[in-house]
Amino acid sequence: MQRVSTLMQFMASEQSLSATQSDMVQAQARIASGKRISVPSDDPGGAGESVTLRSNLAQLDQYKSNQNQAEYTLNQSDNALSQFGDVLATVKQNIVAAGNGGYTDADRQALATNLEGLLSQMVGLANTSDGAGGYLFAGTRDGAAPFAQSGTTISYGGDANTQRLEVSDNRFLQTKLTGDEAFLRIRAGNGTFTTAAAATNTGTGVIDPGGVVDPSQITGSGYSIAYDGSKYVVTRSSDGTQFNFTPGSNGTTSLQFDGMSIAINGTPAAGDSFTVQPAGYQSIFDTMAQAIAALRTPTSSSAALARVNTALGSAQASVDQAIAHVGTERAQLGSALDEVSGYASVQASRTVDLQTQLSGFENADMAQAISAMTQKQLVYTAAIQSYSSISKLSLFNYL
């Protein structure tokens, strides 16, 4: 049997009333704030997780912003290249037209003027701004327009580096093409080799750009083709090997060697020569300059006309290369865009996941909080009622 002192009785009741009341008030505060964790001690592990989850969500936001910017820039570049491709198509039309046998010098001059206009358009497109004070095709030197035009000479002032953005964890995506990539690094001629006629030729032989019939036999060497009046002698520069070909009938000779096939049309004179070189890079602007120069050349003789036609043929092949190149670059942009939208959708669902997790830690489960509060209210009410009935009991009431 435990003796209970009066003082202790009242103090104990007082303490337990105060404790149940404080419990009830805390439960109510939790409902009012909607927060499960109002101080870290409410759930230390959860509080730590919450910091981490918030940081992950913030990173995903950053990536999303980068993705949007990347999309914008990639689309802009694609637009510019699409327009550039349209201009190239018109350029090709003009060059093809120039091959018309009935054209005079004056006709070709007119075409040259057309091409000059188109060239200016191309430079304008190559200098497209990126909408934020920089340029789409300048690499990282985007303080000024990358392409400068002086007559038909276009020079590139940008560089070969480019801005990248982190569009997903550790994925640094190139968002722009450099001017280099887009317009300068285009393989000349037919993409594998170029052909040219010597300036001293006196015949009317026109060498065509040629084609590759068997890539496995391409040697990468240069060649010289000499016509000695009765046959064509092809000399491979790397080792001096020679091939002989007899001219074909009806004004066309087809030369096939080392996996290449080249046609010489017209009638070369004895002593005329032609060269074949492995294709280096040639900017589209240089191609345009060549084409314009050829068109502006007066053709006083049939030999001169032949040289002009050779040059135009070469230019046309290079323009074809450029058109294909623009297509390839646009495909690269397109796949980058696909990649970005892939990240965007994966990320969207990951964001939702993280937010759900975060909410699980931070936000109070309303149903549980309300029932906890109701229970504490009940306990408090019982405590108050029992206190009032017990406190009335005293022997002094009955004496």
Binding site: T6, A47, G48, Q59, T140, R141, L165, E166, F396
Partner: protein, 627 residues
């Protein structure tokens, strides 16, 4: 005969009266805290024998006894001390943890915002608005750390003030107890038991235990000697020693409690205080606060150092090498105030901030050996020479050797959170671009391409010297820069470092004769390479193996854990205290119902004794009225 009855009646009356008085006293003091109920011990008077018959001589009051159990009282004192300590620490820990209660405005959020601003600036590196936003975010980051650091400093000083107040309380209680000791000894010497003085003394000891744990040892003369938990005497008889606050000789920011004995200050070790509010406050200010200061300081130091390094590896908006973004932080080191050789000084610098620990260090010289102790976990290193490179710190001594026994404290990161500040003021000072760039000549026939070009730390003076990597047959390469050459075999994706200047990673298949040129990034104002590297710091193990976010998340969880632990401890100590107090009160407390029934009992006895007196008087009158 009748005189016998008279004296018996008298004794009954006076006994009943004393009992009633005592009961009345109990009733009056039923609610007085610290009051010990009194009971009257009644014993029969020594009887007398007459003609072979033994006659009782009435009742005597042996004593008015305090119903007191020394053991229960001692238990209650101890429980009071423990509960006060736990409660004081829990209150302070709850205040401490509020600085982490809003995850949207805390340090974690400002770290996220800083790196978000870096990413945003990487989209438009030349845009002044983006750079300004990054500058502001860096400033915000420093501010948040500063706020946390000053909050901790404020709590330290307010806790010190509370400690002062508590020592005053202890001293005045000790004085009071000493005075009571002499009064009680005097009264007991005179043969009386001064119950109310004893109660007063017990109350004073209980109050004292709330401030500081003491154990009471009763002496033969009735006085009680008080001893602190480490055995030092506080009250001896009628003399009381004073306690006071001083600062630790090894760390001027650490308060120390001690006893003044004969004018000399004898400090008490923090872990030997036992209980009492003072113990709780000391634990908070000497353990919880410095631990958090070190945790935050470790994060601030390693993060700011990494950002500074990366900014210096890049070129700013004016094309010059970047500088420090944050003012560089440095460790503090100082000698103990009791050192014999005052000319010896210790200094420390950071050798690798990624290995910093959240701890203070002590360097002690004794017996020709230098011992460096990491205070957080006690790990030690010894050396015969006073220089150490450990945990990312480089420690040296000037004017060595010190006197034997001298000690020095090194605090690498304690003040970092308070001291973190921006060093840059202009948006252009942010180094967005890389100082070098790679270029692939058009003549290359292979598919070699550059994945990554990283500037190495420290930034070499000849970093931007033109260099070329030329590939030979079978994937071999030779790097040439002036007279410096290096050769190797290329492997896609493997970094190649050159002359401590830079490191390059490439992919693709090179053909013999292909060249990669590395040189100054001239004119590349739109380059954002350095910002991309800055952004990667968010995921790097900068803080002793953890990323900055992991570090702050761990801090938040740890503080929450400590606060929760303090709450639980406080609640359980309170529970123990309640049950001990209940037991004490059950023995010594007044129960009004009990006193009410005693009242009736002694009232009846008094009435009966009065009736006895009346009967004796009647008998006497009868005899007197005989003719």
């Amino acid at each position: 005969m009748s005189t016998g009855i008279l004296s018996i009646a008298n004794s009954a009356l006076s006994a009943a009266y004393t009992a009633l008085r005592t009961t009345g006293n109990n009733i009056a003091n039923a609610s007085t805290p610290g009051y010990t109920r009194e009971v009257v011990d009644l014993v029969p008077q020594v009887g007398s024998s007459s003609a072979g018959t033994y006659f009782g001589e009435g009742v005597a009051v042996a004593q008015v006894r305090r119903v007191y159990d020394a053991f229960l009282t001692q238990q209650a004192n101890q429980a009071t001390a423990s509960s006060s300590a736990a409660d004081a620490r829990s209150t302070l820990m709850n205040q401490l943890q509020t600085m982490f209660s809003d995850p949207t405005t805390g340090i974690g959020a400002s770290i996220d915002q800083f790196f978000g601003a870096v990413q945003a600036a990487s989209q438009h590196p030349t845009d002044p608005a983006s750079r300004q936003a990054l500058l502001s975010a860096a400033g915000q980051l420093a501010s948040r750390f500063n706020e946390a650091g000053s909050r901790l400093q404020d709590m330290r000083s307010s806790t010190s003030q509370q400690l002062q107040q508590e020592t005053v309380n202890v001293n005045s209680a000790a004085q009071q107890i000493a005075k009571l000791n002499s009064q009680i000894a005097f009264a007991l010497g005179n043969g009386t038991t001064p119950n109310d003085l004893l109660d007063q003394r017990d109350t004073a000891i209980r109050t004292l235990n709330q401030s500081l744990q003491v154990s009471a040892v009763p002496q033969n003369d009735g006085s009680v000697n008080l001893f602190l938990a480490n055995g030092q005497a506080l009250v001896v008889g009628a003399a009381a020693n004073k306690i006071g606050l001083s600062t630790s000789v090894t760390d001027p920011q650490q308060p120390q409690v001690g006893v003044y004995v004969g004018g000399q200050f004898n400090p008490v070790q923090s872990n030997q205080l036992g209980g009492g509010k003072i113990a709780g406050l000391i634990q908070f200010v000497n353990q919880d606060v410095p631990t958090l200061e070190n945790d935050l300081g470790q994060l601030a130091t390693s993060l700011s150092a990494a950002v500074n390094t990366q900014n210096q590896l890049g070129n700013d908006g004016n094309g010059s090498p970047g500088g420090n973004v944050f003012a560089p932080l440095a460790p503090t080191a100082f000698a103990a105030s009791t050192n014999g050789n005052t000319a010896t000084q210790v200094s420390a610098t950071f050798s690798d901030t990624t290995q910093l620990q959240a701890s203070d260090y002590r360097l002690v010289y004794s017996g020709g050996q230098y011992t460096l102790t990491r205070l957080s976990d006690g790990k030690q290193w010894t050396s015969a020479s006073p220089s150490f490179t450990q945990d990312g710190l480089s420690i040296t001594m000037s004017n060595a050797p010190p006197a034997s026994g001298d000690s020095f404290t090194i605090q690498p990161v304690r003040a970092a959170a308070r001291d973190l500040a921006l060093a840059i003021t202009q948006p252009s000072e942010i180094a967005a671009a890389s100082p070098i760039a790679g270029a692939l000549p058009a003549a290359n026939t292979g598919t070699i391409a550059i994945d990554d070009l990283t500037v190495l730390w420290p930034r070499a003076a000849n970093l931007t010297n033109a260099t070329s990597i030329t590939f030979g047959a079978g994937n071999t390469y030779t790097i040439t820069s002036g007279a410096v050459t290096q050769s190797g075999t290329y492997q896609a994706g493997q970094p190649i470092s050159f002359d401590s200047r830079w490191s390059i990673t490439m992919h693709g298949v090179p053909k013999a004769g292909d060249v990669v040129n590395i040189g100054a990034n001239a004119g590349g104002v739109g380059d954002n390479t350095n910002l991309l590297k800055l952004a990667q710091l968010q995921k790097a193990a900068l803080v002793n193996g953890a990323t900055p976010t992991q570090a702050i998340a761990t801090i938040v969880a740890r503080v929450g854990d400590e606060a929760q632990g303090a709450q639980v401890s406080s609640t359980s100590q309170q529970g123990i205290l309640n049950s001990v107090l209940t037991a004490e009160s059950s023995m010594s407390g007044v129960n009004l119902d009990e006193e009410a029934s005693r009242l009736i009992q002694y009232q009846q006895q008094y009435q009966a004794a009065a009736k006895l007196l009346a009967a004796a008087k009647t008998m006497f009158d009868t005899i007197l009225n005989l003719p």
